[in-house]
Subunit: 174 residues, 2 copies
């Protein structure tokens, strides 16, 4: 069993941090994990990308070629990466920023950015809504490990808000 996940959005939307937390959580679950992020021109301004490969066994080729799961936080990310999703793959979109694609597929929507702003007065935790949505609609990582990974990674002052955002993402996804 190997699951290939790509998280994409704008620089500043926290896709690298989301990938880092997801990878850490899967390691807590006892899985093998490779987590990759791209910086530079792609990450600044327009596009940021983070990839997580989760497996029960050693991961030989640590590059995502076809996504089992794609999480997109802006429209450009969807337009760019949709073609890489497997036929039976899962798409999770931040419906504040991303329009539902025409392609027939397993699609889940969470109004992450708008709800983050309404609930917490900041959109910086929209990425945790996306992880909450992911945790709800798949079983790739355990709830306990994800919450632990958030707490272990964040500074104390912001961990609580991010855990709340994560839980809210689980409620809101549809």
């Amino acid at each position: 069993m190997k699951t290939e996940i790509r998280i994409a959005g704008s620089g500043g939307q926290g896709v690298v941090l989301a990938g880092h937390i997801l990878g850490k959580a899967a390691a807590y679950d006892g899985k093998k994990v490779v987590q990759t992020q791209s910086y530079g021109a792609e990450a600044r301004g327009s596009m940021a990308k983070s990839e997580v490969i989760i497996s029960d066994r050693e991961i030989g080729f640590p590059v995502v070629t076809r996504c089992d799961i794609l999480i997109t936080m802006n429209q450009e990310a969807l337009d760019r990466h949709l073609k890489d999703v497997k036929d039976d793959g899962i798409l999770v979109i931040d419906s504040t920023n991303v329009k539902q694609p025409e392609r027939k597929m397993k699609l889940f929507k969470v109004p992450a950015t708008e709800t983050a702003e309404e609930t917490f007065g900041t959109k910086v935790c929209a990425n945790m809504f996306m992880l909450g949505a992911l945790a709800k609609v798949t079983r790739i990582v355990s709830d306990a490990s994800l919450e632990k990974a958030i707490v272990d990674t964040m500074e104390k002052q912001t961990a609580n808000m991010n855990v709340q955002a994560y839980r809210k993402g689980k409620e809101l996804v549809q």
Copy 2:
């Protein structure tokens, strides 16, 4: 110009954090960067590994196969990864934990773990000594960007100690 760097050691020695900071610094310098870390069995207990590829151009194949630079923080990491260093590659070792290999090559030593304990009363910042050593003996990232990446990444309470450790690494390397 593409530089492939691998940082390896035990879980808990901060090789993932070091790779993250190095990648961020290179992006500040305007480079393209791919940064990869492995978690799971390899990262817990025995081995942890972090890879950074820095390039002036888009990085097509984001996997380190042969290292331009290898940084090792324990003996097992050296024994395992030395064979992957290019003929003209650079090796940087934490001389507290790693014996100088017999192979003729560009070798730099920094007594990171022991000096961290003596100076700061903790070995958690030994990884920053290694980055200091790297910055001193190569020109792959600028000093200003590395210090900025440390400050931007760390919590306020620990950033200062880590910047000091980074500077000390530059002094101590030989």
